[in-house]
C-alpha cells in the first residue's frame, strides 16, 4: 500500500519520457517603473529537490515567485515547464501546470471546516457544480494521509492553530495536484516543534517527487532541509549553491555583500539594583510562580515553546494580561500594571511580535507612526493644538538616530521593508524613554542586514542603562545578545543562565536541548573549553550601522 502510494504520487512529477519534472526560468527580467526588480535571471527547479530562495527583502525572490505563479508578466525571458515554453503565464495556466504557491497569509477560509478548506479548490478546479460532502472528506483525508498527518476534518478552521492552518494550506495545494510547491516563509509563525513537523512534511513531499521551493529568513532551517540554495541580491542572482557548501556566514555574505556578524553583548552598567523584580507572579492556566529580576543594562533573553508562559508573562508586564497573584516591583515600588498606559507610565515599552497589526498604522506616514506613543507631548496650550512641525522634527531625528531607510518621513509605513518597519516601531517606543523594553521576537521575517542593526540598537540601548527583555525562538539570537537567559517550560521558569554559563561555547545546543526537553539537564554542558570562547566572541559589525546615515536622504 505504502509503495503504491509513493508511486502514484511520484508518477505525475515526471514527463512523458520519464524524465523528472523541470521548471526553468530563462533570462527573466522585470522592471517596475525605473526600478529593476529582476535582472536576467536563469534558474532551474527540479522535482525531488528542496530549493531555497534566499535574499534580503526586495532582492527579487518574491517577484520571481509571482512571475512563475502568473501574477506578474515578465518584461523579457521565458518560463519552460516540462518542455513547454511560456513567455508569460496567467494564474490559471500556472495552476494547470501544477504550480502552487502558499503565501504567508495562507488565504484560507476561517469559518469553513478543515476538510472543506482542503478540498474546495480541487472541486472548484474540476468545475463541480454540486458538492458531495463525502467526496470532500475523501479528498481531504487522502491529502492528510499523503503527508502523514492526522487532523480533525470537522474542526472549524478558526479554532485551529497556525501550524494546523499551515498544514491545511499544504494539503490544499496537494489536492490541486501541486507538482511545484512554493512556500513563502512558512515557518515564521511556528514554534520549534511545529517547525520540525513542517520540515518533515516538506522532506516527505520532496521524496514523493515534488519540487519544493521555500523562502525563508531562518538560516538554520535553510541548512537543515534545502538541497540547493539560490541567493538573490538587488534583483540579480548571485548563484546556486549546494547547501552543503554553505555556512551561515558565507550565506549572509552572499545575501548582503557584506561581512556581517553579530557582536556579543557584554554588560557594562555598574548599577546592581534591579529595575524590575517579579515575585511569585501567577496567572491561572498560563504561568505560575515566576521570579525574575532585570537590572538596568541587562538584556534578559526569554525562550520557551508556545504555551510555556513566556509570551503570556511579557504581555502581563505590559498590562495586557493582568496577573492573578504575585508582585511586580519597579524601581523598588510595588506597582500594579493593569493597562498599557500604566505600563508606559512605569517606563515599560513593548515591541509586539506582529508589527503590521499591533505595532504600526500601515496606512499612515512614518512621522505619524514614530510619534504615536508621545502624541500627548506634541499637543500644546489650552486647546491641545497639535504641533505638526515638532512631529516632523521628532521623526527626522528618529530616522537619523536609528537609521530608518526611507526617502521621507512622510512615506507610508506600509511601504517600508520589514526591517525598516520594525525600526519605526522601535523609534515609536524609544520616544517614550522607556526603562524596560520588552522585545517580542523583534527579528521575525527580517533580513540579515536589518537584523544586525536591530541587535546593535538593542545593545546600545542596554549599554545606556536600559533594561531589555528579549523574547526569541532563535537560540543564536539570544546567545549573541543576552547577558542572561531565562528558559520557560509549562508556565514556569526552569532555568536562568547567567553570564558565566553563557560564556560556554556549547551553551547554544544546551539551551536547545533544555527547551525541547522542558526540564533542566545536568550533564550536557562541559564547563571547560575556554579556548573556544573566542569563536562566539569574534564578531565585528561592519560600518557601525547606527551612525551610518548616508543612505537616508532626509538627514542630509
Amino acid at each position: 500500500m505504502q509503495e503504491q502510494d509513493s508511486k502514484a504520487t511520484s508518477a505525475p512529477c515526471r514527463d512523458l519520457k520519464g524524465r523528472p519534472l523541470l521548471v526553468e526560468a530563462i533570462g527573466i527580467t522585470k522592471t517596475f517603473g525605473g526600478f529593476t526588480a529582476l535582472d536576467d535571471i536563469n534558474l532551474m527547479f527540479k522535482g525531488g529537490e528542496i530549493h531555497c530562495l534566499a535574499g534580503e527583502n526586495g532582492s527579487g525572490k518574491s517577484t520571481l515567485v509571482k512571475i512563475i505563479s502568473g501574477a506578474y508578466t515578465p518584461d523579457k525571458g521565458s518560463i519552460v515547464i516540462n518542455g513547454k515554453s511560456y513567455s508569460a503565464l496567467n494564474p490559471a495556466q500556472s495552476m494547470a501546470e501544477g504550480i502552487q504557491v502558499i503565501y504567508q497569509d495562507l488565504a484560507l477560509f476561517e469559518h469553513m471546516s478543515v476538510a472543506e478548506n482542503i478540498a474546495l479548490g480541487r472541486l472548484r478546479e474540476n468545475d463541480q457544480r454540486l458538492i458531495n460532502w463525502k467526496k470532500v472528506d475523501a479528498i481531504a483525508q487522502a491529502q492528510l494521509e499523503r503527508i502523514g498527518v492526522q487532523l480533525d476534518l470537522r474542526q472549524e478552521l478558526r479554532e485551529a492553530s497556525i501550524s494546523t492552518k499551515q498544514l491545511v494550506a499544504i494539503c490544499r495545494a496537494l489536492a490541486m495536484d501541486a507538482k511545484v510547491l512554493f512556500m513563502d516563509e512558512p515557518t515564521t509563525a511556528l514554534s520549534g516543534r511545529e517547525v520540525d513537523r513542517l520540515l518533515e512534511v516538506m522532506a516527505d513531499l520532496k521524496k514523493s517527487g515534488l519540487a519544493v521551493i521555500f523562502i525563508s529568513h531562518k538560516l538554520d532551517e535553510v541548512f537543515r532541509i534545502a538541497n540547493v540554495v539560490t541567493v538573490f541580491r538587488d534583483g540579480r542572482k548571485i548563484g546556486d549553491f549546494p547547501s552543503g557548501d554553505l555556512n551561515a556566514r558565507r550565506l549572509s555574505y552572499y545575501m548582503t555583500g557584506k561581512e556581517i556578524s553579530y557582536p556579543k553583548y557584554q554588560r557594562v552598567s555598574t548599577k546592581q539594583e534591579s529595575f524590575v523584580e517579579i515575585h511569585g507572579l501567577c496567572k491561572k492556566n498560563m504561568y505560575q510562580d515566576i521570579n525574575l529580576s532585570v537590572r538596568p543594562g541587562d538584556i534578559m533573553g526569554c525562550i520557551g515553546l508556545l504555551g510555556s508562559g513566556r509570551t503570556e508573562l511579557a504581555l502581563s508586564l505590559f498590562g495586557l494580561n493582568p496577573p492573578d497573584g504575585g508582585d511586580i516591583i519597579i524601581n523598588g515600588h510595588k506597582t500594579s500594571i493593569n493597562s498599557p498606559s500604566a505600563a508606559m507610565e512605569a517606563g515599560i515599552a513593548l515591541l509586539p511580535e506582529d508589527r503590521s497589526t499591533e505595532g504600526l498604522f500601515l496606512e499612515r506616514s512614518v512621522a505619524v507612526n514614530a510619534t504615536a506613543a508621545i502624541i500627548d507631548k506634541l499637543c500644546h496650550g489650552w486647546f491641545k493644538c497639535f504641533d505638526f512641525r515638532r512631529e516632523r522634527e521628532c521623526a527626522r531625528q528618529d530616522i537619523c538616530d536609528i537609521n530608518i531607510k526611507t526617502t521621507s518621513e512622510q512615506k507610508l509605513a506600509g511601504e517600508l521593508s520589514g526591517g525598516n518597519q520594525q525600526k519605526v516601531v522601535l523609534a515609536k517606543w524609544l520616544a517614550t524613554k522607556p526603562r524596560l523594553f520588552i522585545m517580542d521576537n523583534p527579528t521575525v521575517g527580517i533580513d540579515i542586514g536589518s537584523k544586525a542593526e536591530i541587535y546593535e540598537t538593542a545593545q546600545s540601548l542596554a549599554r545606556r542603562d536600559m533594561a531589555v527583555l528579549l523574547l526569541s525562538d532563535e537560540v543564536e539570537e539570544l546567545t549573541a545578545n543576552c547577558n542572561r537567559i531565562a528558559i520557560f517550560a509549562r508556565g514556569r521558569i526552569i532555568e536562568i543562565l547567567d553570564e558565566k554559563r553563557l560564556a560556554d561555547p556549547h551553551i547554544g545546543s544546551y539551551i536547545t536541548k533544555v527547551v525541547a526537553a522542558g526540564r533542566r539537564l545536568d550533564d550536557v554542558v562541559s564547563a571547560s573549553a575556554d579556548a573556544n570562547m573566542q569563536q562566539i566572541a569574534t564578531v565585528v559589525t561592519v560600518d557601525a550601522p547606527l551612525r551610518d546615515t548616508k543612505e537616508s536622504g532626509v538627514c542630509k
Binding site: 494564474p91 490559471a92 495552476m95 497569509d105 488565504a107 484560507l108 477560509f109 476561517e110 469559518h111 469553513m112 472543506e116 474546495l120 479548490g121 472541486l123 472548484r124 478546479e125 463541480q128 457544480r129 454540486l130 458538492i131 478558526r158 479554532e159 492553530s161 509570551t311 503570556e312 504581555l315 495586557l320 494580561n321 493597562s339 498599557p340
Partner: protein, 333 residues
C-alpha cells in the same frame, strides 16, 4: 448537520419564554398560537433566507423590504390595468421586479466597492421613490383587488375544529418550506453556495481559487430580490390590501432576527436554523404581548434585550477564543 451552541441557547430561551407566558395565560399553549405564528412570520422567514445568503457573502442588504413593497405594488398595478387575476401572475411579476432591483444592487456593490449597507440604504429609497413617481401612490383595498389574493392569503392547508371556531394552518407554509429547502440546497449542496460563503470568508482567497465574486454577488443579491418579490406578494395576499408605504421600516427587525440567530455581520458564517429561530423569537415576542397584557411598545424593548444579549454572547465567545490564541485587546478605560 450539527446544531450550534447558540442555536441551542435560542431554543432554550424560546422554550422558557413560552413556559413563562403559559403560566400567566394558559390560553397561550395551543395549536392556534403555533398556526398563527407560522402565518404572521412567513414573510420575514422568506426574507431572512435571502438575507442569510447575502450576509454569508460578506455583504448586507437593507433594501429588501423596499424591493418587496415595490415588486408587489408594481405587480398589482400592472394586474389591475390589464385585468389579470391569478396569484401566479402576481408572484411572477413581483419576483421579476425584485430580481431586476437585486441585480442592480449587486452591480452597484461590485462596481462602487462601497459598504453595501450604504448602497442599499440608497437604493431602498431610490426604488421606493421610483415606484411612487412612476406607478403612483394609490391604496388598493379589499374590494378592488382580485378575490384570488384573499383566497390565497387566508387559505388553509388543514383545518382543525378549535374552541372558538375553525382554525387552520396557512397555505403560506408551502412557499416558506420551499424557500427554506431551496436555500439549504444552495448553501450546502452547490459550488455556487460554497463560493458565496468563500467570498464572505476571504474574497482574496476565493479569487485565488478561481471564484468570480461578481457572478456570486449577482446571484446572492438577485436571489434576495426574487425572495423579496415572493414575500411581498404573500404579504399583500395575507392583509388583502396594497398600501404604497407598508413594509418599509420593518427591514431592521429581519436583520435583527438574522443576527440573533448567529449570522455574522462580517460575513462567512451563519446557519439557516439559527436565522429561522431569530425570526421566530421576534414574532413570538410580538404575538405574546396580548397574552401578557402589555402594549406594543414592549416589543421593541424585548427585541432590543435579546439582540444585545446575543451580541454579547458572540463577543464573549470571540474574546475567549482570542485569549486562547494569546490575542489581547487593550481595554479602554
Amino acid at each position: 448537520m450539527q446544531i450550534e451552541r447558540s442555536e441551542v441557547i435560542l431554543l432554550i430561551i424560546i422554550a422558557l419564554y413560552a413556559l413563562g407566558v403559559a403560566v400567566v395565560n394558559p390560553a397561550f399553549l395551543s395549536i392556534e398560537t403555533v398556526f398563527d405564528l407560522v402565518r404572521t412570520s412567513s414573510r420575514d422567514i422568506i426574507l431572512v433566507m435571502g438575507l442569510l445568503l447575502i450576509m454569508l457573502s460578506g455583504g448586507i442588504d437593507i433594501s429588501f423590504m423596499s424591493m418587496a413593497l415595490v415588486g408587489s405594488y408594481c405587480a398589482t398595478v400592472i394586474m389591475m390595468r390589464y385585468e389579470f387575476s391569478s396569484v401566479a401572475v402576481l408572484i411572477t411579476l413581483a419576483c421579476c421586479f425584485g430580481l431586476i432591483m437585486g441585480l442592480f444592487n449587486a452591480l452597484l456593490v461590485s462596481w462602487l466597492k462601497l459598504p453595501p449597507f450604504i448602497i442599499t440604504l440608497g437604493t431602498m429609497n431610490l426604488f421606493h421613490g421610483l415606484m411612487a413617481t412612476l406607478a403612483g401612490t394609490r391604496t388598493y383595498g379589499a374590494g378592488i383587488l382580485p378575490p384570488s389574493f384573499n383566497e390565497f392569503g387566508s387559505g388553509y392547508l388543514l383545518e382543525i375544529e378549535g374552541e372558538y371556531g375553525v382554525i387552520g394552518l396557512s397555505v403560506s407554509i408551502i412557499p416558506v418550506a420551499l424557500v427554506i429547502v431551496l436555500t439549504w440546497f444552495i448553501i450546502y449542496k452547490t459550488m455556487l453556495g460554497r463560493g458565496i460563503v468563500a467570498i464572505g470568508n476571504s474574497e482574496e482567497a476565493a479569487l485565488r481559487l478561481g471564484f468570480r465574486p461578481l457572478w456570486l454577488r449577482l446571484f446572492a443579491y438577485g436571489y434576495i430580490g426574487v425572495l423579496a418579490g415572493l414575500a411581498g406578494s404573500l404579504y399583500i395576499c395575507q392583509v388583502n390590501a396594497v398600501y404604497p408605504d407598508k413594509m418599509i421600516g420593518e427591514e431592521l427587525m429581519v436583520v435583527a432576527g438574522a443576527v440573533i440567530g448567529g449570522t455574522s455581520i462580517s460575513g462567512g458564517k451563519g446557519k439557516i436554523f439559527g436565522a429561522i429561530l431569530g425570526i421566530v423569537i421576534i414574532y413570538l415576542l410580538k404575538s405574546t404581548l396580548i397574552f401578557l397584557g402589555l402594549s406594543a411598545s414592549w416589543n421593541n424593548l424585548f427585541v432590543g434585550i435579546i439582540l444585545v444579549l446575543s451580541l454579547s454572547f458572540t463577543a464573549y465567545q470571540e474574546k475567549m477564543r482570542n485569549q486562547r490564541h494569546l490575542l489581547f485587546k487593550v481595554e479602554s478605560r
